[in-house]
Symmetry: C2
Subunit: 206 residues, 2 copies
């Protein structure tokens, strides 16, 4: 039933393999050099394919970058989902756990630079928001909706709240990513974000 590990032989497999090589190489080079300084010759060389193969698989450099961003966002969402799935009955606990999981994953240097710093600039704010809403913020929005429905969270416009909190969490992750002492920074960021959530929380019986 799985479609990924089924190793579809032939051209499909060939294409998938080069795309995978390009994705891995691009991710590394984009993270190290930034979008603008990452040249397509360098990426193709690192991937072990020609530049022609790159332009056959992707419309342009931005499309390759977009695929990298979408892949990383999907990986992150999956990871957070896995950590919060078992907490469906306690929405506030799920939010707190999800926040911590997000901080840990999103503060990885490559994620911070590629997805959060360069993503909006390269893809444009709208396109980037679409990817983010489909992956990262979706999880957050669902969590907030659940908490609000359970009366554990102050009633506020959901989309706006999700966006604002997402911004706060992104900035916190970037802070952790560049901190000299990441562990301490992560603890501090978690404390502040928990305080923000607490401030918006409502007691269980009301």
């Amino acid at each position: 039933m799985q479609e990924e590990s089924a190793t579809p032989d032939g051209q499909a497999r060939r294409s998938a393999a080069t795309r995978a090589r390009l994705l891995a190489a691009a991710r590394e080079i984009f993270a190290a050099d930034g979008y603008q300084a990452a040249s397509t010759p360098a990426i193709a060389r690192a991937a072990g394919v020609s530049r022609g193969a790159l332009y056959h698989q992707y419309d342009d450099k931005a499309a390759l970058f977009r695929d990298v961003v979408a892949t990383m966002q999907a990986e992150l969402a999956e990871r957070i989902d896995a950590e919060t799935r078992m907490l469906a009955d306690d929405p506030m606990a799920a939010l707190r756990t999800g926040t911590l999981a997000f901080l840990r994953a999103a503060s990885a240097p490559d994620f911070a630079r590629i997805v959060m710093i360069e993503g909006p600039a390269v893809l444009g704010r709208d396109d980037w928001s679409g990817i983010d809403r489909a992956a990262g913020t979706a999880t957050l929005r669902d969590g907030l909706a659940a908490a609000m429905a359970a009366g554990r969270l102050a009633p506020l416009p959901l989309e706006t709240l999700a966006t604002v909190l997402s911004g706060a969490m992104n900035e916190a992750a970037l802070l952790v990513a560049t901190a000299p002492d990441p562990a301490a920074a992560l603890a501090g960021a978690a404390t502040v974000l928990d305080a923000v959530l607490d401030g918006l929380a409502r007691p269980a019986n009301r």
Copy 2:
């Protein structure tokens, strides 16, 4: 005693004039096309100077962009300062007023794109944070420190709190900037941000 309007004649005035022309032209073109697509030939042409003049005044394209960002940040900080200066005795009111002033100013399309979206990507996160800390976030941090000192705000690590709230406010401004109904979006964003601040507030007598 004024040094700006004193029209320093000669070469200093000549340089200042070309820099001003370049700044204005660059601001417009960066806002319209983005950093990457904004070519130095186009900027020089729009400013009415040669490309040589541009490279004489600035080390490279990024330095010109940096000057644009710093100028816009300084303008914003000055504007917020002016609106909150008279509220020094009520720190929470100053924070709320400042938030609204920030949302109004930072949701201008050119500010959103140049300073908030492209700034970190072009200048690098650290350099951008330095400019932001010197201008925008400084005002916020001072306001938070005052409120905390007065016991009106939950005691939290100041720098982290300022960064996190700054992220929330930036994201809110971007939301307003691209909203179909900016007035409504601004009201919603202000409501959410006020709720966040309220959640962190402490009663006056304690």
